[in-house]
Symmetry: C2
């Protein structure tokens, strides 16, 4: 039953992948718990990237257009997908959103998934890379407790390093735990609030778009 759902999703994800190839679009799937700072990270990084290439955003949430409103204020194309009771974006939702957007060739598409460190790990959207965001307030054993997400991700961004003095969290222990689950994981540490580490991450995203 679940296998059937996943199989159908995988087929449509490949269709999305073909769409992105045809248009030379790099799609990134941003995943995290609610409140890790995915939207804030996009608000911080997108203005730094817009000088190099066009950017568009698909926002996933159960309800509200709050996140799309925040991205819209940056002046980039954005579409909000509300999943209702659904706990993840799937490839069909993304496929439909693609058709409603005016995506530019040779651009970057950021897909912000529903805040959920579990289910979205299983649903390929056709993205080039999965970026999992965690924050320093969530406990440094999260990669071990939710291994599926960290196993599937290509890049891990530890956010809210500005709060490290106030919380019982070891960035190095978190990194070790993440690497135990997936030793291919690329690791970045940032504070969206202070801007620390953001340049390294945007540099990596620029490189992905250049290498495509």
């Amino acid at each position: 039953m679940e296998q059937d759902v996943l199989l159908k999703n995988n087929l449509l994800a490949e269709r999305n992948r073909g769409y992105f190839e045809a248009r030379n679009i790099v799609a990134l799937n941003f995943l995290s718990s609610p409140g890790s700072g995915k939207t804030s990270l996009l608000e911080k990084t997108i203005p730094l990237l817009l000088g190099d290439f066009p950017v568009a955003v698909i926002e996933g949430d159960q309800q509200t257009t709050n996140d799309a409103d925040r991205i819209h204020a940056l002046g980039v194309p954005v579409i909000q997908v509300n999943t209702g009771s659904g706990c993840h974006l799937d490839a069909l939702m993304v496929n439909r959103a693609l058709k409603e957007m005016e995506l530019k060739d040779n651009s970057l598409l950021c897909i912000e998934n529903v805040g959920n460190l579990v289910c979205p790990a299983m649903f390929d959207l056709g993205e080039a890379k999965k970026i999992v965001v965690i924050s320093t307030t969530e406990g440094d054993d999260k990669p071990l407790k939710y291994p599926a997400m960290f196993h599937e991700a290509d890049i891990c961004v530890l956010n809210k390093t500005d709060l490290l003095p106030y919380v019982d969290f070891s960035a190095s222990r978190c990194r070790e735990n993440a690497m135990r689950v997936n030793h291919h994981l690329e690791w970045f540490e940032v504070s969206v609030k202070t801007g620390e580490g953001i340049e390294a991450l945007t540099g990596r995203i620029r490189q992905m778009v250049k290498d495509r």
Copy 2:
């Protein structure tokens, strides 16, 4: 398909409810995003309750026994349920765990669900009350973006009030948002770290056990 799963779960949840009634056990289902501080909240509150009645804990996580190890250190009975790829506890997992534990009559059972602000909202476990925990680092619009959980919950605990000076979060706005989704919600604000507000919450739990 999904309806069928939920229907079966609801039946078994009622069986659990009957089990709790027969043994005069108050069961509380603790729900939140990963890292909101459910386990820390139990570590803080359980020692304050043990003088009044026995307490036992069921811990849900995809992987690891980290949380059960922390609860075990309190000297109370605890069982860890690992859901693997599963994103929530269901009534069958709880029913099986009940049979493996030595629960005392006239006691409190705390069930810590998998960290997930979405899926566990749909799965009744037979509990007396659902307690959703959010933290001040998660954004005060969370109740609007994940309304199902706040609609189903009986009590909302806002944790990490000690971090309020360092984050852009309004406790009153969060409360308003939560009340818009569910005006019956009981609201508590605590800091597990400093102990602020914990006495009010444990007082409410004592009252629930007394009123049963």
